[in-house]
Point group: D2
Amino acid sequence: MTLKIGVIGTGMIGRDHTRRIQQVLAGAEVVALSDVNLASAESVRADLAPNAKLYETGEALIAAPEVDAVLVTSWGATHEPYVLAAVAAGKPVFCEKPLATTAEGARRIVEAEVAHGKRLVQVGFMRRYDAGYLALRQAVQQHTGAPILVHAAHRNPAVPEAYVTPMAIHDTLIHEIDVFRWLLDDDYVSARVLYPRNAARSHSKLRDPQVVVLETKKGVLIDVEIFVNCQYGYDIQCEVVGEAGTARLPEPMAVALRLDAKRQSSILTDWKDRFVASYDVELQDFIAAASQGGATGPSAWDGYAAAVTSDACVQAQESAGQAVAIELPARPALYE
Amino acid sequence: MTLKIGVIGTGMIGRDHTRRIQQVLAGAEVVALSDVNLASAESVRADLAPNAKLYETGEALIAAPEVDAVLVTSWGATHEPYVLAAVAAGKPVFCEKPLATTAEGARRIVEAEVAHGKRLVQVGFMRRYDAGYLALRQAVQQHTGAPILVHAAHRNPAVPEAYVTPMAIHDTLIHEIDVFRWLLDDDYVSARVLYPRNAARSHSKLRDPQVVVLETKKGVLIDVEIFVNCQYGYDIQCEVVGEAGTARLPEPMAVALRLDAKRQSSILTDWKDRFVASYDVELQDFIAAASQGGATGPSAWDGYAAAVTSDACVQAQESAGQAVAIELPARPALYE
Amino acid sequence: MTLKIGVIGTGMIGRDHTRRIQQVLAGAEVVALSDVNLASAESVRADLAPNAKLYETGEALIAAPEVDAVLVTSWGATHEPYVLAAVAAGKPVFCEKPLATTAEGARRIVEAEVAHGKRLVQVGFMRRYDAGYLALRQAVQQHTGAPILVHAAHRNPAVPEAYVTPMAIHDTLIHEIDVFRWLLDDDYVSARVLYPRNAARSHSKLRDPQVVVLETKKGVLIDVEIFVNCQYGYDIQCEVVGEAGTARLPEPMAVALRLDAKRQSSILTDWKDRFVASYDVELQDFIAAASQGGATGPSAWDGYAAAVTSDACVQAQESAGQAVAIELPARPALYE
Amino acid sequence: MTLKIGVIGTGMIGRDHTRRIQQVLAGAEVVALSDVNLASAESVRADLAPNAKLYETGEALIAAPEVDAVLVTSWGATHEPYVLAAVAAGKPVFCEKPLATTAEGARRIVEAEVAHGKRLVQVGFMRRYDAGYLALRQAVQQHTGAPILVHAAHRNPAVPEAYVTPMAIHDTLIHEIDVFRWLLDDDYVSARVLYPRNAARSHSKLRDPQVVVLETKKGVLIDVEIFVNCQYGYDIQCEVVGEAGTARLPEPMAVALRLDAKRQSSILTDWKDRFVASYDVELQDFIAAASQGGATGPSAWDGYAAAVTSDACVQAQESAGQAVAIELPARPALYE
């Protein structure tokens, strides 16, 4: 009853997911690998999955009869065709962010899946599997009363020179965009972007920090600070204000030190450490559902909604504080 | 060398300041009292200042030769004429908020004081004397690097039915308006108000909560949540985000309990308890300066700036998310 | 390369470890089950390990050729003979606490393992695998300077009526006894027990709370409060005081709520939730070492040291505040 | 109605109390000063109390008709005779720690005061006036249920070379000795001292750290770590464990910073800053009671109990972990 998985794209994240399946998680094994750079796939096979077969193309891997389910961890522009191929083959597919590079592309996947008639796609929004967000969601449902406001921050110590203003949406805010829809069980209706002066460490092609303001159908107002040159650490903050009280995302576990005239606790500096445990959980969830021939967790519809919202936020970045409307078509019954 | 003080207005706050001067602070005594309701003044005299003389009018009290300095704690609409009279008499005057009910009124006081040629007026913005804000300001100056963003919240458990939308500015935000100018050593250039859905406990004449967004000359972007039906407590939050790190206003002192499966600490529920110590400090500061014949602390100019900003915020409340410009004339040299 | 595991004892913990191996961890499968109550083993097979073979006795299971490694999760009195049998068979064995019910029994296992010449035994002291203790140990090694004092507490909300004074050592303190040896890389030289008045919820056969004071070879003084009727929650506290500073065991992750005039966070009430993640890690560690034919982690020697220390603590419980010496023979080279 | 105070001893603390009375507190003035070093008294007069009269001896000051009440802030060995003289003169007297240098001396004061028939003496145990301890006491009375255990620590960053082992009791623990009697409304019955290895920064005449264990009449067990070379700061910790929960002394107010990959808050390093506000409150309390001709707050009996307990603790320091009994005579009705 071991799920046989094929991995398309063996870069950093593909290699890491392969390690997870082979060495950490129960119930699955990697039986097929593919990468545009065959040497990369060869290396992952040698290190982690000696019994896996190599395929020249992702399409061939998807078609292979021994492959039960597919992981798409290749370059973003290739996600859409691979996911569409997996859906066409009726095989469960886990796709890393983004589901597609355009909202239209994501919508094509939604349409294909709807036509197929049951869920096959899980998108790699791992925060939904983070113990902190799960606890926050439960606290909101049980204690705060209905949400009215969300105050959030997404801070990185620094970014490479190539990081420019729209990437603050596509690469950074994208996580908040998805996880707040899930946290609030809600959808967005508008986005607005406000800028303070630029941080001294930023540059002419990057407005940093920025504050994105989102409104939801239920009337929740969300402000998210994005600050990718904050220097002090990788820090994800989220406070939900409800009718009766507030709830705040737990801080990562840290030893409390008293040292050098300071009470102090470490803050992470590498984003890869922040949600590391949630990658295990999301993939275990994929294995469980794919073993039954389907998919649960973040859906193609969630990936589409994130793409539409991202587009609106980027437009809002250029709209001088004006609200940009966010409109989604009716949600297909498959995703209710 | 005891400073002889006359108090105009012997309601709750006038009585409390009289108690402070008579029983808590060094260097001053209340020698004169006045109130439109003479019985009230009589009662304060009986309880707290048996040697004080009663005056039928504030003007007479100001003119009395034994009065060295004046406290104006009467009804808001009377502040302007009393302060102007004190300035005309060359006597230091402490005036509770608001300095005047209109920006024009506040400006007349500024002009009178400038004409007089030295500072005589202190406005009752007590947060500048709070140990928490003082520590925050020091932390910003020493540790965070130059400020870029401020995230703040001003929450009350509930308000009376008569509290309507503009009061969220005049009665509530007014404290943040002043204290952030001081905290950041900056001035405002625009205000914007954003609304989520109304809280269930609010009513048709009160938009609650609301988020006020202020921009400053130096480019700092400030968001302040005002939520006067938050139910859970009186809670003042302030986080400054600077170039190198963040600093957060200390929580009020509280015992850490482990009880009933919860780590827990009390939150205050009555605003009167939150800054109670700062009233002592601000009045002691007034006594010190007035004993030298002048005034320090929050100035008439600060009162004027707060009035201008309040007017813009109220206008922004009716402007559907649009920014309203805030313009101040050049600051007179007296207030540099 | 899947490790084939036989499980002796299919009660609560044996069932849970079987689930772990079958559904959560990579690299192993349960191929054999045994229990004095065969129906219990039958039920675990049906629910979790349909391919496992049932054995009438633990000895038969240990001898079975398809069994690579053994889990001993049976009744405490049977641990010693099963572990000895596994060592005699040269098979890696994971044994839940206690390694044996007497120090002499534990010593017999040490001697058998030493005679065998390499490590085969891992004892189920899971706290060494807890992320919090691991972080604390790192903090002590990197930040606090050499330890001088440890202040600790082990609190349960309540215990069954059958829980009597010595169980505070054997069932409760046993975890601290092991984890502090590891945390400090040290051994004990004496134990002392001090009693306050009894808690109202306790009874005549249970002194509760009590404070156990341990001294180590390196001169560290450790005080541990044991309070098994503390009412408010299951709470494990540990603060290490070193030459330059202090470090405190992290609190379990919890949402920070502001509600009902309180800042509040949940405290666990069920001990099973407190170190749940560490069971996964300890068993994964066993699988990794057993796959290489050996064992790492808490050793038979650690089990023996814990047994000797427990005996001294129980003696100290009856010694009216006097210190009882703790003496261990020289540590065999196998355990250096 | 201004209370006229004479100050005996114008060193650091005498000067500071004079400043308090003259510049901070209401209702009193310093009218007389005395010091063995007349130049010191002269300097305090010049700086702070120009209208005060200088006296050659404390006895003369006490006898002076214009002196309503006396502050004894001279060298410890002189406290007893000055306090006895004040009691003999029927004048309220505030005496800094220690009330007397021996338990017998303190008892003579108790007997004199009892003979006088009403309270005149307040001892300078300022922690009872600290807002943190007051809040802790209230929490214990309202929330934790009856106390069973107290875990405490008194840490200084460093001490002068002349600081030797008994000073850990007389100069350091003395504050805990008094404040826990008040906190618990209880008396001590035994003391025991336990030592870990010496800290590297300590020296041959100072055992540091040490743990003092006190038992009370009501059966509370108290452990207090004294560590006067802890390096990292001046840190006072206190946790009360009651029948239903625990309460912890609040940390001093501090800004929460996120900086340099750390969440951090300052710890004080100078003991003079830790309870600074409580000095104002204790003296204001003295002024209030002395204005009525009596005394409240920490009594001569409290000073006597502290002296008896200190003696037992010092004896326990030399008793190798044995408990030393603490016996007080029956409490005179005056102190009920």
